[in-house]
């Protein structure tokens, strides 16, 4: 308890907790759909797109962040489009887009001189270093993502489960696919900048896969994902503080522990 009180006395930890909980909730909720649609590696893939965008931005003299965030969102939408009816599955599409952007980024760098970019800047964020502006941005976008997810919950279920049926009953499946893509793009773009691709990837994949070990209903999986994600985030942060481990890695490791526990519980039942 003392430990927690001590932690709360640092503003940067309070901020990291606020932002982190919001973003990890979004990631966990969307993660369920993403994992089911075979987009598990989307966080990793989009981080490479972000790198490519950054390289292109500097090469053309555009504002790096101003370009890379919208590009990541557009890439998420494109990804969903690419897989629509073309027979290219989600993970292959992610691979195509991410290796292409990496290659394009590397080429752009080698052609134009004078870029300071590094793919690795995208892998590891600085979860603990958030300005007030970051906090505001992420709380606002996360709130919007959460609200939209809640409102579209039933449609997202239907479109993820059986797109043809949803379409036949007059649901504009394309539109809801776009909604999922846009929410994902926003969550990843914001989350990647603040928390890095490693952590965002983990937050998307782990809670969903963990929950599917035990729960059989979509609702159960969604609720459990949210719970698992929030608890691992907090536990990871405390662990990072208490044991002096890197924050993002600790959170992922706590998630791994949850996964193993749920998998074992699923076996026993």
């Amino acid at each position: 308890m003392d430990l927690i009180a001590e932690m709360l006395s640092y503003k940067f930890l309070v901020r990291a907790a606020t932002v982190g909980l919001m973003v990890s909730l979004c990631a966990a909720l969307l993660g369920v759909s993403l994992v089911l649609k075979r987009y598990s590696m989307i966080g990793d893939g989009l981080s490479h797109v972000g790198f490519g965008a950054l390289a292109a931005a500097v090469a053309t003299g555009a504002s790096p962040l101003g370009l890379s965030i919208p590009v990541v969102i557009v890439a998420a939408v494109l990804l969903m489009r690419l897989t629509d009816g073309s027979g290219i599955k989600g993970d292959a599409a992610i691979g195509l887009i991410s290796t292409s952007s990496l290659a394009a980024g590397v080429t752009a760098i080698s052609l134009s001189s004078g870029i300071n970019t590094d793919v690795c800047n995208y892998m590891f964020g600085s979860i603990l270093a958030m300005s007030k502006g970051d906090v505001r941005l992420s709380v606002a976008t996360s709130a919007a993502v959460l609200l939209l997810f809640l409102l579209c919950y039933n449609r997202i279920f239907a479109v993820t489960f059986d797109e043809n049926f949803a379409r036949a009953t007059g649901v504009n499946a394309g539109r809801y696919n776009m909604v999922i893509a846009a929410l994902t793009g926003v969550t990843i773009a914001v989350g990647m900048r603040l928390m890095g691709a490693l952590l965002i990837s983990g937050l998307i994949i782990f809670p969903a896969v963990t929950s599917m070990r035990l729960f059989k209903s979509f609702r159960g999986v969604v609720l459990s994902s949210a719970a698992v994600s929030l608890s691992s985030y907090l536990a990871g942060l405390v662990l990072s503080y208490a044991a002096g481990l890197p924050a993002g890695a600790s959170i992922v490791l706590v998630n791994l522990v949850f996964f193993l526990a749920f998998a074992a519980a699923g076996r026993i039942r």
């Binding site: 089911l36 809640l150 409102l151 579209c152 919950y153 039933n154 449609r155 279920f157 239907a158 993820t160 489960f161 059986d162 043809n164 049926f165 949803a166 379409r167 036949a168 009953t169 007059g170 649901v171 599917m212 729960f215 059989k216 209903s217 979509f218 609702r219 159960g220 999986v221």
Partner: protein
């Protein structure tokens, strides 16, 4: 009043025509059996009716009253959802999606409908089971219940009887007759069961790449061949 009007409908997959010149007008409240050998274009026709594929020529028109949202559809092969976590209940109630309109969540009416159809298809005990854990026939029943949930004026079923046990088949046919007669819904059903399937129908559409026959069931020449019993 016509529930469904097809005019010169053709459909193709990547240049190869699967369906050619289908042309008929189905009165509202009719029960249409679509028959024909494997690969004759039955499922293709259904998908074109529902707007899931774009016709390469011709048009499909639905009755004005029945919007897309009033169609209960049951696909022939549900994409195998090997790992999808969804209970039978969640699957069935998702049939009410078209009826949500602007509401974000299902209401009491939706839940009651879903429960009714679960019971009708003998799925009440299985409602909390995961869809992925069902046997083939149980899945088929679940998808049928979902289609019934969605149906408001029109039911479109692609081989609904395949994989059902004999008793459930009977139950389904009598249910379809009820929906058709009592609730006045138009039913379009693809079937290979020329004995019982076609017997329930008021109209028959026979396909074989093109349209071989359309008209009342009683006048269908194939009826003489199969309709009276086994071949």
């Amino acid at each position: 009043m016509a529930a469904l009007v097809c005019r010169g409908l053709c459909a193709a997959y990547g240049g190869r025509e699967a369906l050619h010149g289908v042309d008929f007008e189905l009165p509202a409240g009719a029960f249409l059996a679509v028959v024909g050998p494997n690969g004759s274009g039955k499922s293709t026709l259904i998908k074109a009716l529902l707007g899931l594929i774009k016709p390469s020529a011709g048009t499909v028109k639905l009755e004005e009253g029945v919007g897309r949202s009033g169609i209960g559809y049951m696909p022939q092969q549900s994409e195998s959802r090997g790992d999808f976590p969804a209970t039978v209940y969640e699957t069935v109630i998702s049939g009410r999606l078209g009826r949500l309109g602007l509401r974000p969540f299902y209401g009491r009416q939706d839940r009651r409908e879903a429960e009714k159809n679960l019971r009708l298809m003998g799925l009440w005990e299985l409602r909390t089971r995961a869809f992925r854990e069902l046997s083939g026939g149980q899945r088929q029943r679940t998808l049928l219940a979902r289609a019934l949930c969605a149906a408001d004026g029109m039911l479109v079923l692609d081989e609904p009887a395949a994989g059902l046990d004999a008793e459930t088949q009977e139950r389904m046919y009598s249910l379809l007759r009820d929906v058709n007669k009592k609730e006045g819904a138009t039913v379009v059903m693809v079937t290979h069961d020329l004995v019982r399937g076609a017997a329930a129908a008021t109209h028959v559409l026979e396909l074989d790449g093109g349209q071989k026959y359309f008209g009342e069931a009683g006048l269908w020449p194939g009826r003489a061949q199969y309709g009276s019993g086994e071949k």
